[in-house]
């Protein structure tokens, strides 16, 4: 919450002071990265995955001593069409609910980290801010991350967050006159595998 406040107040001025930062690291996102969305209805649960990331994107980590805040910049763009819910009906329903025809891409923009992780093999918990854009609605969230680096120097960034359909002005599907109802809450988890460049 404090991060959110600091970022909101200082976001623009920090961009202008980027030259004062002490460290800048670039991470390139590997194609093995994945994202999953899980939720439930009153009759079942569902889990939908985007099993691989088909673009080449980088995240830039910049530590700024003036503010003690670690800036994270970069974004991932995920095709809603790539979701696989392991059931064609549920997959199509999720794509329809997320308004895939009008807004085919889900964007996650990375903004900050609470601290610069040590990058050991033991996953280190940090938090960070992201902007998530779904169906044309942009919303800022604090994400719980676990960051580690494995023996092959691959950085693992695991993030998770509970969201609501209603956060993005989406209506959870209801069927048969409301007898089957999808719950508003969704859990989004992503696993980015990255290499330092």
């Amino acid at each position: 919450m404090i991060n959110l406040l600091i970022l909101s107040i200082t976001g623009f001025s920090m961009k202008n002071k980027v030259n004062n930062r002490d460290e800048t690291i670039k991470w390139v996102i590997s194609q093995n990265s994945s994202l999953s969305v899980s939720g439930s209805t009153n009759i079942n649960t569902f889990s939908c995955v985007i099993p691989s990331y088909d673009r080449v994107d980088t995240l830039t980590v910049s530590k700024n001593n003036n503010y003690g805040l670690v800036m994270l910049s970069g974004k991932i763009d995920l095709s809603i069409n790539s979701f696989d819910c392991h059931n064609s009906g549920i997959t199509k329903q999720l794509q329809k609910t997320l308004n895939e025809k009008q807004f085919p891409i889900l964007h996650i923009r990375f903004l900050s980290l609470s601290s610069l992780p040590a990058m050991t093999r033991k996953p280190e918990p940090v938090t960070g801010l992201v902007d998530i854009e779904i169906a044309g609605v942009d919303k800022r969230f604090e994400i719980n991350y676990r960051i580690s680096r494995d023996e092959e120097n691959v950085i693992h960034l695991l993030g998770s967050r509970d969201l609501n359909f209603s956060d993005f002005k989406l209506i959870p599907p209801r069927k048969l006159g409301g007898m089957i109802q999808t719950k508003d809450q969704l859990t989004v988890e992503f696993h980015l595998k990255m290499e330092t460049i």
Partner: protein
């Protein structure tokens, strides 16, 4: 005409309670049968809920008219007349519709069979009501 409307209304109220009550219990106790409804084929925004819940009355008024027109053809006890009426409706109206639905829509055999049984039970109940109050 008044008789048709009154019997249709009574049957509609009875079917409303039994059909949606049964559906509610089905969803609650046999959720696995309803997972296939999580599909864009079925309306999901609630905009047609009123139409959905009117179905019990639509079928009741239609069957009430059909009963009044052809009730002399159904012989025997009120139970037999109601049962025969339900089966006639199922064979004439439901079976062909379910056949074309299954052949053309991306729906499962279990789903289409459940619709057939649902309609058959509705028609039998309506037939029993008509045989009792509009013999």
């Amino acid at each position: 005409m008044k008789k048709i409307l009154i019997t249709g209304l009574i049957a509609g109220c009875i079917l409303f309670v039994l059909s949606y009550g049964g559906l509610f219990l089905g969803v609650r106790f046999f959720p696995g049968l309803f997972v296939a409804y999580d599909n864009p084929l079925f309306n999901s925004d609630g905009s047609r809920d009123v139409l959905f819940y009117m179905h019990a009355f639509i079928i009741s008024f239609a069957l009430s008219w059909f009963w009044d027109r052809f009730k002399s053809l159904f012989k025997g006890t009120f139970m037999m007349r109601g049962l025969e009426f339900g089966f006639v409706y199922a064979v004439i109206a439901l079976l062909p519709v379910m056949w074309i639905s299954f052949s053309s829509l991306d729906i499962t055999f279990v789903m289409v069979s459940s619709w057939f049984l649902y309609g058959l039970v509705q028609a039998i109940i309506a037939g029993l009501v008509f045989a009792k109050i509009n013999p």
